[in-house]
């Protein structure tokens, strides 16, 4: 069964063949986990989201009509889940920021602080670039993760997000422009190339 195509496994899984679904999970769990981790940058969150994503896939498999590739459909669920998670997180962060500012404390992102390695860039610059990446619109960040980090093709990304390739490329252009501008601004302020 491990040698079967996705479409064959999906057909079997839709008919209740548990082994077929398990093979699909084995085939994609690592890829989905890496994609999600690169989006959320937190191990526990990534593992929780991956559970949710596969549960959604399980629940919606009957409704999967095969109009796109199974992997594209699955990654679309994963990316949408990441975007939803980020939106929820953003709301919570804004709420907690309001509370912290209300009580007059400084805001320090402990998670970012502990993950800074500083091999390529100075710690401060890296932190600011991470913040810039986080500040990208959710769909732009999703394209960055899929193209720059996961090295997917534009056709794959287009199928996953359900938008034309030209739209995907435009999002990537805007995201890289923002990140490049941020890097240059930081370099200028520090008086040299980073």
């Amino acid at each position: 069964m491990e040698q079967m195509l996705d479409t064959e496994l999906v057909d079997l899984a839709r008919r209740g063949e548990s082994r077929a679904f398990d093979v699909l999970i084995q085939r994609y769990q690592t890829k989905v986990t890496h994609l999600v981790y690169r989006y959320v940058d937190d191990r526990d969150t990534a593992l929780d989201l991956v559970q949710d994503i596969f549960l959604k896939i399980f629940r919606n498999l009957v409704g999967f009509k095969g109009e796109s590739k199974f992997s594209s459909w699955m990654f679309r669920i994963a990316v949408n889940d990441c975007i939803d998670h980020r939106r929820r997180l953003k709301v919570r962060k804004e709420q907690s920021l309001d509370r912290i500012q209300e009580f007059g404390f400084d805001v320090v992102d402990e998670h970012e602080e502990t993950n800074i390695e500083g091999r390529i860039l100075a710690a401060e610059t890296k932190r600011e670039l991470k913040a810039a990446l986080e500040d990208l619109p959710a769909k732009q960040k999703a394209v960055v993760v899929m193209k720059i980090y996961q090295d997917m093709t534009f056709d794959e990304i287009s199928e996953i997000v359900g938008d034309p390739v030209s739209t995907v490329k435009s999002r990537l252009y805007k995201a890289l422009k923002s990140m490049g501008s941020e890097l240059r601004r930081k370099s200028f302020l520090e008086g040299g190339k980073v």
């Binding site: 981790y37 990534a46 593992l47 596969f54 890296k126 990446l133 980090y149 990140m179 890097l183």
Partner: protein, 199 residues
């Protein structure tokens, strides 16, 4: 020549196309060259903050686990729906010192019916308590009366005997007295008769 489009920038940057004419323009046009440099810096910046995948023990996910979880979720939903429907219809669980009970009322009048049922239940219990108390009181009164009557009967019998004795005593005494008086009268009459004869 016109400047490059966003799509063309990305195609060149990502190596999607190999177009000597576009590359020539890029080298010749300061504006497009500068924009491309910003994009290249963007790639550097993005890769610099790429999250490194840590060692992760991937959790075991299987069809069976999900099926069980879905079953539990469905059961939860069914239970929640059942509670909602039953409570909407007026059925509710009540727990008190007597244990768990079910209350039921017709749709739309749950609160009133529950309150009325509660009042009726309390009234029934009150009547029951009064009746029990009344039965107890009556029994006790009857017992008291029985005791009194018994004591009275015993006393009456005892008094009757005593009275009879007393009456007998009186009658005996009276008979003695009468006999004594009669004898005295006879004696006196005899003495008077003797005296008259003598005169």
């Amino acid at each position: 020549m016109r400047h490059l489009t966003e799509e063309e920038f990305i195609d060149l940057l990502m190596g999607e196309i190999d177009d000597p004419e576009l590359e020539a323009h890029l080298r010749a046009c300061l504006e497009c060259g500068e924009r491309m440099d910003v994009l290249k810096d963007g790639v550097v910046a993005t890769r610099a903050v790429e999250p490194k995948i840590p060692d992760m023990m991937l959790p075991r996910i299987s069809y069976g686990d999900f099926k069980r979880r879905m079953m539990m979720m469905r059961l939860g939903w069914v239970a929640a729906a059942a509670v909602l429907i039953f409570s909407f219809l007026g059925l509710r669980f009540e727990m008190n010192q007597n244990g768990v009970s079910l209350a039921f009322s017709v749709l739309g009048s749950q609160n009133e019916n529950v309150a009325e049922a509660r009042i009726a239940e309390l009234e029934d219990r009150l009547l029951e308590v009064i009746e029990v108390n009344a039965q107890l009181t009556q029994t006790q009164i009857d017992q008291r009366f029985d005791a009194i009557h018994q004591e009275r009967d015993e006393d009456f019998e005892r008094y009757a005997v005593a009275l009879g004795d007393r009456i007998n005593t009186f009658e005996t005494q009276n008979a003695v007295n009468i006999a004594t008086v009669r004898e005295e009268l006879l004696n006196k009459e005899r003495e008077d008769g003797v005296r008259g004869t003598l005169r």
